[in-house]
């Protein structure tokens, strides 16, 4: 048995069908009721409209209703309903306007357009429109698509014939945008012969198969050509004898190939997209049968939404046998195929900024997408969105809030600028993390890498920036094996995460100069220098020069990287691991709770990973903030101040001074911060935060600018905001206490006594260490002096 042809009746011009006489009758029926209808626009579309209507029509009253086989659907009713829909449906925007000039409904205009152009052979009907106009018709259409669509086509043909009797072409109805779409894996026997809509990705397309629609035979004896014979469910009934009365030769008919009519056919395999696959499952596939115009309308790799009829076909054991196995093969007879742009809030697009101009496709209109965007916009309006984003980034990595803020800036990125003169300014933010071992630098790197899949994660130990080949090398002494691979070229439009940056060879590192400013990589091979794009943000982490931060050395000496390279990093974080019992304790608690799944772990309002990714990708694509005048002023003012500080005598070699590059960094950072709020304008607060980040990153507040060393007790990174306020409160409390208790220049007090006083005063627990810290702060403010355990106000 050959496959049943889909919509046989509909595919065939009416004049050839055996029931053409009956159809003509139907045409009359269908047309007549429309006349009174057009006069009365307010006719209520309801489920029983057809029933009410039929008796009113004198012609229909005496004709016996024809029912769709096996159902109680009256052909006449459906006929009338469809006609009503086609003639009178108006889009929601049109209904608002007066009926003056817009006499015709949406689909009548479409029909006219098709007829004028003579090109399109199909009328796309939005199923939502059908539902809005007549839910009953929609229900019938979905449940009995074969029958209803055949009627739909007939009604359409009649309509066309009434407008222009000479219009020859056959117009097909293509339904799309069903109310609900089915998940591919949920297609089951109850969906057979129903209209379904599935989303998926095309993975295979067969070649185009010509299929005989009408066959013409010729008599070998007399040369008489037979009437075109229609293919009936895949079978051609060869005439047993010549049709000419004079000849009537038996078994003389032969098929004339070049006079037969063929139609295109194609089989396409659709596979589930990753988001629909449950955990531990593999994607399902379904075959789609495409006809005529739909052939080649999608190619492998496209994400599409297919509307069609789910059908089953029995499997024969062998071609020669009539024995049918009990197994059925299923496929979808395609009615409409819509390409959905790659799900736009997808992880792949995270770094894809360039094609924002041409990406405004139809998908922007889909309610689904709008819905998602709406949610993101709502999120962006939250007052604490900045904090929320910070918490959502690597929630399992402890503390390091300010580092995370910097990384967020990197993910959001600034605006890349290309001037007409050809000069370009990168929008990517590069970050260097320098820190003591064991401060979860690597984990942060891995998290960022996970968030931006086009990025590359590599260890500086084994990466050559440009090499395109990978090489395994074995240390002859230790036997340690290292995989060396070229990394940067591969991470175009991603984040290139380089672990162990300090271990990178100088040669490879020097390549980074070009990457980080010009965003290209030059490769010289066989005398040809090729310049490849490497539009990447670099996130590198390194250990201090003596593997642990040495407080006695200056910051520059500790980082020990060439200043030319350092200046290319927008943010340089010093993550110093200060022996702090409080932090350690929280870390320990956190780890224990991870292992034992204690319910007491704090659940903050965090965005889950997909939302975070969607948020970032939307911001990168659609938000391009500009700098407001006030913000620009603030930028200049602060920058000048920063430059001044760097000019302190003797500091030039010991601290990282502000350069012109830094103002670019600050602009990028402020832009990124504005993006986080989905704001089109960079405001003063963004600039202020950008400066704060820059300061915090380098522990500026703790740096003694005359020596370039960092006072370990004043380090602020690694301390959460709440902890910081707690400390500030303690400092204030101590200051008050000192002011109260101690006379200026009076006798000194022991720390223990102060501690006891404080404990009496405040409800919070105060440790000796905390007090010492607070006193140290006061000492730097020159309020007290500290000698051993005795405190003296000065």
């Amino acid at each position: 048995m050959a496959p049943p042809l889909p919509r046989t009746a509909a595919d065939v011009p009416p004049s050839f069908t055996p029931s053409s006489s009956r159809r003509r009758l139907r045409r009359r029926e269908a047309v007549t009721p429309s006349t009174p209808m057009s006069a009365d626009d307010s006719f209520p579309p309801s489920s029983d409209a057809g029933d009410d209507f039929d008796p009113a029509d004198p012609e229909d009253a005496d004709s016996t209703p024809v029912f769709v086989w096996g159902t109680n659907i009256s052909v006449q009713d459906v006929n009338a309903a469809i006609l009503r829909f086609l003639r009178h449906f108006r889009g929601p925007r049109e209904t608002g306007r007066g009926d003056g000039l817009m006499e015709e409904g949406k689909y009548m205009r479409a029909v006219h357009r098709i007829m004028e152009l003579e090109g399109g052979e199909s009328l796309d009907v939005d199923a939502h429109d059908v539902f809005d106009y007549d839910p009953d018709l929609y229900g019938k259409m979905v449940r009995y698509p074969l029958e209803v669509l055949a009627i739909f086509d007939i009604v359409l043909m009649d309509l066309v014939a009434r407008i222009d009797p000479l219009f020859e072409k056959h117009i097909q109805t293509r339904i799309f945008n069903l109310k609900s779409s089915v998940c591919m894996r949920n297609l089951n026997p109850s969906d057979i012969e129903k209209m379904v809509s599935v989303k998926g990705m095309i993975i295979r397309c067969s070649s185009v198969i010509p299929e005989v629609k009408e066959a013409i035979f010729r008599c070998l004896v007399c040369g008489h050509y037979s009437e075109p014979i229609l293919v009936d469910r895949g079978r051609i009934n060869e005439p047993p004898r010549c049709g000419r009365q004079e000849c009537l030769a038996m078994n003389s008919m032969t098929l004339v190939h070049n006079r037969c009519r063929f139609a295109d056919k194609q089989i396409v395999k659709l596979q589930e997209t990753p988001d629909e696959i449950p955990e531990g499952g593999t994607p399902h596939t379904v075959s789609i049968l495409m006809h005529d115009k739909l052939v080649d309308s999608g190619k492998p790799g496209d994400r599409v939404e297919v509307t069609g009829i789910y059908r089953a076909m029995s499997v024969r054991v062998g071609p020669t046998q009539r024995v049918v196995k009990s197994i059925f093969k299923t496929y979808i007879d395609c009615l409409h195929l819509k390409k959905t742009d790659k799900s736009r809030l997808h992880i792949d697009d995270l770094m894809d900024v360039d094609n924002s101009s041409n990406s405004r496709t139809i998908e922007d209109d889909t309610p689904d997408y709008q819905d998602k965007v709406g949610k993101l916009k709502e999120l962006s309006k939250l007052p604490d969105i900045y904090d929320r984003l910070t918490w959502s980034l690597a929630p399992n990595i402890w503390e390091l809030d300010d580092v995370k803020r910097g990384l967020l800036c990197q993910l959001f990125g600034g605006n890349a600028l290309k001037l007409v003169s050809g000069a370009s300014f990168r929008g990517d933010i590069n970050i260097l993390l320098v820190g003591d071992p064991g401060t979860s630098k690597s984990q942060l790197l891995q998290y960022i890498h996970k968030l931006s899949p086009r990025g590359i994660y590599t260890s500086g130990r084994g990466s050559s920036a440009v090499g395109l080949t990978a090489y395994v090398s074995k240390d002859p002494e230790t036997g340690e094996t290292v995989l060396e691979s070229g990394a940067l070229v591969l991470s175009d439009r991603g984040v290139c995460c380089i672990d162990e940056f300090d271990k990178m060879s100088d040669n490879a590192r020097s390549m980074l100069h070009e990457v980080m400013e010009q965003q290209t990589v030059s490769i010289a091979k066989a005398g040809i220098i090729a310049s490849l794009n490497a539009r990447t943000s670099v996130l590198a982490c390194a250990n201090p020069s003596e593997s642990r931060y040495n407080p006695r050395l200056s910051v520059i000496d500790n980082i020990h990287l060439p200043p030319t390279l350092l200046s290319r990093f927008d943010l340089i974080y010093l993550i110093l691991d200060k022996a702090d019992e409080q932090t350690d304790r929280r870390l320990a608690k956190h780890i224990v709770s991870l292992h034992f799944k204690n319910p007491e772990t704090v659940v903050q309002d965090v965005l889950d990973l997909p939302t975070l990714v969607a948020y970032i990708s939307y911001a990168r694509k659609h938000i391009h903030p500009r700098i407001s005048d006030e913000a620009a002023e603030e930028l200049t003012r602060q920058y000048v101040e920063m430059r001044k500080r760097g000019n302190a005598p003797g500091s030039r070699k010991k601290v990282i001074t502000a350069t012109a590059r830094q103002i670019e960094s600050l602009i990028r950072l402020s832009e990124a911060l504005a993006r986080m709020r989905f704001s089109e304008w960079v405001e003063v607060k963004d600039v202020a935060e950008a400066f704060r980040l820059l300061e915090v990153a380098l522990q500026q507040s703790a740096t003694d600018h005359s020596t370039g060393t960092i006072d370990m007790d004043l380090i602020m990174t690694g301390i959460s905001a709440s902890e910081r306020t707690r400390r500030e409160n303690l400092v204030a409390a101590t200051r008050n206490l000192v002011m109260e208790r101690l006379q200026l220049g009076g006798p000194s007090t022991r720390i223990i006594e102060l501690l006891e006083e404080l404990r009496k005063q405040s409800s919070i627990e105060v440790h000796l260490n905390d007090l010492r810290n607070a006193l140290a702060t006061l000492m730097s403010e020159r309020v007290v002096s500290l000698h051993g355990d005795s405190v003296k106000r000065i």
């Binding site: 395999k269 531990g280 024969r316 009990s326 064991g438 891995q446 084994g462 990978a470 340690e480």
Partner: protein, 593 residues
């Protein structure tokens, strides 16, 4: 039930159909019986359940593998153990049809009677297809011997093919308790084990030498894959790479072979579907009546009945440690670490942290020591764990092997890669033969996959247009000369053998160890608030002592401490275990310097 009108073993379909007709007859006349039974059972499965588990019929059901396949008759009841390698979606079939005035069923079979009534007298039902293979890396001792055909009343001509193994059919086979076997069978088992040890040792040497081929080491003896059709169950019940036991009706039709290939029907060819590549003439089909997920304990063929008493467990632990240190040339520290490693399993995955994994990198192997100890070590692991794999990591291997499972969209099948492994598989990666060399893109990809598995316990499957990550739970042991930077393990331990000892283990010992490893590994951990408080204090103290420990180090210590307590059969971590870990880590640190 009054008298059996059918034979569950030889004619299970009879039972199914009779039950169906009974059910139809007893259903109210106005209801459509066929529709009522769509997607649910009419009591047939309960009949089988009763027969298999209440009347001890399970022991008579033959296990389907390459050796038994020769004599197992189509349309009889069989058992099959395997891993879900591919999911082929659902299949619609005529579940019920009207034969005259009676409804009949086609459930649990492929073939319909020669004539089908017209469409309105049939009911389309649905079943799910799974392609199952023997568990990759399954060691021969973990195979369950099938009851010989002699036990059953098979025709004499077929029974002579079967391997005769004295088995007592009266054994009580309860599904929930591990299988017990009588003395006689355990003797044969032992013989078999000895054979298998030799076999597997030679095969692993082969692997090490040739480096390429990673076929199932159990050879062809049971390399039989099977298309399993599951009824009345949501597809999500089975997950990819799950290990299941299916009991169902075996169908196999070599006579259909001739017809499939010369089909001239265009449509037929175009709906190229996976089934076309799995014709019933080549791949046995199994219509599953009952299935259950297997855990490692189910693969211990004749586990001794060991009361999980603390001192008993302690004893086994001691003897296992002795054995492991003998294997490792009397390196006791390495033995301790190896034990913890063998007990590790994934317990949770939170963002970037995978809780419970403990990969081990033994370094310091030279060419000579590698030739002795690698082999001993892999053999020992093979004897102890049911599913093991060895990957000889060389440039050639990385460049040529297909580690990544890949969907072949031409055939619609998932092509298994080496890394498509069942949960709880042990993977030994032998890096000692790695030399300098250039990797191709395939090699880089393979190295990346291995590293990804090591770090995240996830394997990326290639579906051509996108990749899907599948969770894995694989214990990774890396043997290398220096620290492996290609595969950075959780623990790096320089290996210091003191002497070469010959390793001998009796069958009973092996059984006890296997039982011990499987049981202790599956122990659920819990904690009391006091301990967790003490632990936190301990961790803070440790941090103060060694700043380089960091979050990763503490996580590792805690994992190890939990495994240590599990190794004593205790569910709760105590300070004692923590101290042991600290001591171990101190020893390790000494070695690293």
């Amino acid at each position: 039930m009054v008298g059996l009108a059918y034979d569950f073993l030889a004619n299970p379909l009879g039972a199914v159909r009779l039950a169906f007709e009974k059910a139809v007859a007893s259903s109210p006349p106005d209801a459509d019986p066929a529709a009522a039974f769509r997607g649910n059972d009419w009591g047939a499965v309960d009949l089988f359940r009763d027969f298999l588990f209440e009347q001890g019929g399970l022991s008579q059901v033959p296990i389907l593998d390459a050796s038994t396949r020769r004599w197992v008759q189509p349309n009889t009841l069989v058992r099959f153990r395997g891993m879900v390698q591919d999911m082929l979606g659902n299949e619609l079939y005529v579940g019920a049809y009207k034969d005259g005035s009676n409804w009949r069923t086609n459930k649990f079979t492929d073939m319909a009677p020669s004539s089908m009534p017209p469409a309105f007298e049939t009911q389309l039902w649905e079943r799910h297809l799974f392609y199952c293979v023997p568990v990759p890396g399954q060691n021969s001792w973990a195979m369950e011997p099938s009851p010989s055909p002699g036990v059953r009343n098979m025709s004499s001509s077929t029974s002579q093919h079967g391997v005769k193994r004295g088995r007592n059919t009266e054994d009580d086979m309860d599904l929930n308790v591990s299988y017990n076997w009588d003395e006689a069978s355990s003797n044969t088992k032992k013989q078999k084990e000895d054979e298998s040890t030799c076999q597997s040792s030679s095969s692993s040497e082969d692997l090490a030498n040739h480096g390429g081929d990673l076929e199932l080491k159990n050879g062809d003896s049971s390399c039989l894959s099977c298309l399993v059709k599951i009824y009345d169950m949501p597809e999500s019940h089975l997950k990819l790479n799950d290990v299941f036991e299916f009991i169902g009706i075996y169908t196999f039709d070599p006579e259909l072979a001739g017809h499939e290939d010369n089909s001239d029907d265009v449509m037929y060819d175009l709906f190229e579907d996976p089934m076309a590549h799995l014709p019933p003439s080549k791949v046995p089909h199994l219509h599953c009546l009952i299935c259950r997920k297997l855990v490692i304990q189910d693969f211990l063929p004749n586990s001794p009945v060991i009361e999980p008493l603390p001192n008993m467990i302690r004893k086994i632990r001691e003897s296992l440690l002795l054995h492991l240190s003998a294997v490792l040339g009397n390196d006791e520290v390495a033995a301790q670490y190896l034990l913890l490693h063998l007990l590790s399993r994934i317990r949770a995955q939170v963002d970037v942290i995978t809780v419970g994994k403990l990969s081990l990198n033994l370094t310091g192997f030279t060419r000579e020591s590698a030739s002795i100890f690698c082999c001993q070590l892999t053999n020992a692991v093979e004897e102890l764990l049911p599913f093991t794999h060895v990957i000889p990591l060389t440039i050639e291997y990385l460049n040529n092997a297909t580690l990544q499972p890949r969907k072949d969209n031409e055939t619609g099948r998932l092509v298994a890669g080496v890394l498509q492994l069942a949960q709880g598989t042990h993977l030994t990666i032998d890096e000692t033969r790695m030399q300098n060399g250039t990797l191709t893109s395939n090699g880089v990809e393979n190295a990346r996959l291995l590293k990804h598995l090591l770090e995240w316990q996830k394997v990326e499957y290639d579906f051509e247009y996108y990749k899907l990550e599948m969770a894995a739970d694989v214990q990774l042991l890396i043997i290398s000369e220096g620290k492996s930077n290609i595969l950075p393990a959780d623990l790096v331990l320089p290996f210091c053998p003191k002497s070469v000892a010959s390793v001998n283990a009796t069958g009973e010992e092996l059984q006890a160890w296997r039982w011990y490893l499987a049981t202790m590994r599956s122990l659920q951990h819990s904690s009391e608030p006091e301990t967790s408080q003490i632990l936190q204090d301990e961790m803070v103290a440790a941090m103060q002592e060694d700043r380089s420990l960091g979050c990763a180090g503490l996580t590792r210590w805690l994992t190890m401490a939990e495994l240590m307590s599990a190794s004593f059969g205790e569910k709760c971590l105590t300070l004692e275990h923590w101290q042991m870990i600290k001591e171990l880590e101190r020893l390790r640190k000494e070695r690293l310097q």
